[in-house]
Symmetry: C2
Subunit: 153 residues, 2 copies
C-alpha cells in the first residue's frame, strides 16, 4: 500500500495529456475546432459561418435542392435550418422557387449575388485548405480526408 500512497501536496509542472492524445475522437475534435477557428476568421469578410458556407455550397452545386435534402446531407435538424435559410434569403443570396412536383417542398437556388459570393468564398476556402495543409504534404492531406470519411460515411 505504501508505494501507492499519493502525496497530495505536489505541484504539477507539465501537464501530461498523452492518454487523451491517443484517442481518435479527442484528436478529431481538437483538429476540427482548430480548422473551424481559422475558417471563421477568413470567412468573416463574406459574413459566412461554417454552416452557412456549407448550406450555400450544397445549394450552389445542387440547384433546386430542398430543405429536407439539405438537412439530411449536412446532418442539420429541420427547425435549425429554417433560420439559416431565411437569413440567406433575406441577404439576397438564395431564392426559393416552387418544387416541380411536390407542393409541400420548396426548391432552393442561389441568386446571381449568391453565386458571385460563393465563387470568392470557395477560393478563400481553397487558400485555407492550403494553409492547413502546409503542415501536411498533399499526399498526407488526401490520406487524412480519406481516413476521416471512413469513420463517418
Amino acid at each position: 500500500m505504501r508505494s501507492s500512497v499519493k502525496s497530495p501536496s505536489v505541484a504539477v509542472e507539465q501537464v501530461d495529456t498523452t492518454y487523451l492524445e491517443s484517442l481518435i475522437g479527442y484528436n478529431a475534435r481538437r483538429a476540427a475546432l482548430s480548422v473551424i477557428g481559422k475558417f471563421l476568421e477568413k470567412m468573416a469578410v463574406y459574413d459566412l459561418k461554417p454552416v452557412e458556407f456549407s448550406v450555400m455550397s450544397v445549394i450552389t452545386h445542387n440547384p433546386g435542392v430542398t430543405s429536407r435534402q439539405l438537412c439530411a446531407s449536412l446532418n442539420i435538424l429541420p427547425p435549425n435550418l429554417v433560420g439559416i435559410v431565411q437569413a440567406l434569403d433575406a441577404r439576397g443570396l438564395i431564392e426559393r422557387l416552387p418544387h416541380p412536383h411536390d407542393g409541400r417542398a420548396v426548391g432552393l437556388h442561389t441568386t446571381q449575388q449568391g453565386n458571385e459570393l460563393m465563387l470568392k468564398a470557395e477560393v478563400t476556402a481553397a487558400e485555407l485548405e492550403m494553409n492547413v495543409g502546409a503542415k501536411l504534404t498533399p499526399n498526407q492531406v488526401q490520406t487524412l480526408v480519406t481516413l476521416l470519411q471512413k469513420i463517418y460515411l
Copy 2:
C-alpha cells in the same frame, strides 16, 4: 446568356456533397461528431460526457493539477470549468486539496471512487476506439491520429 439560364423547376434526386467532402475542416467536424456521438452512448453508464471524461482523465494522470492548467491543456475557458469541477466534486469523484506553494490555486485529485470509475471508463473508451478503428487498420488509426495532431498541436 441563354446557356447560363437555370431551369428553376428541376428536382434534385441525389445531393452532391463532393465539394464539401474535399475540405479538411468539414471532414474533421463530421468525423468528430460521429465518434463523439458513439462516445456519449457508451459513456452514459458512467454518467460521463466527453468533457467530463477528459477532465477526469487529465486529473487521473496528473494528480494535483490546477483548474488553470486543465483549462490550458483542454482549451476550456475558466468560467466554464467551474461547474464541471464542482459537479465531479459533488459526485465524490475528485477532491480539491491546497496547492503546495500557491495559496490562490487548488490541486485537483481523483478519489478512490473516481479512480475506480476511470479504470472502467478507460476500458470502455479503448473498446470504443477499437470499434471506430474497426473501419481502419491499426496502422491507419496511428496515421490518422498523427496527421490530426499535426493540424492542431
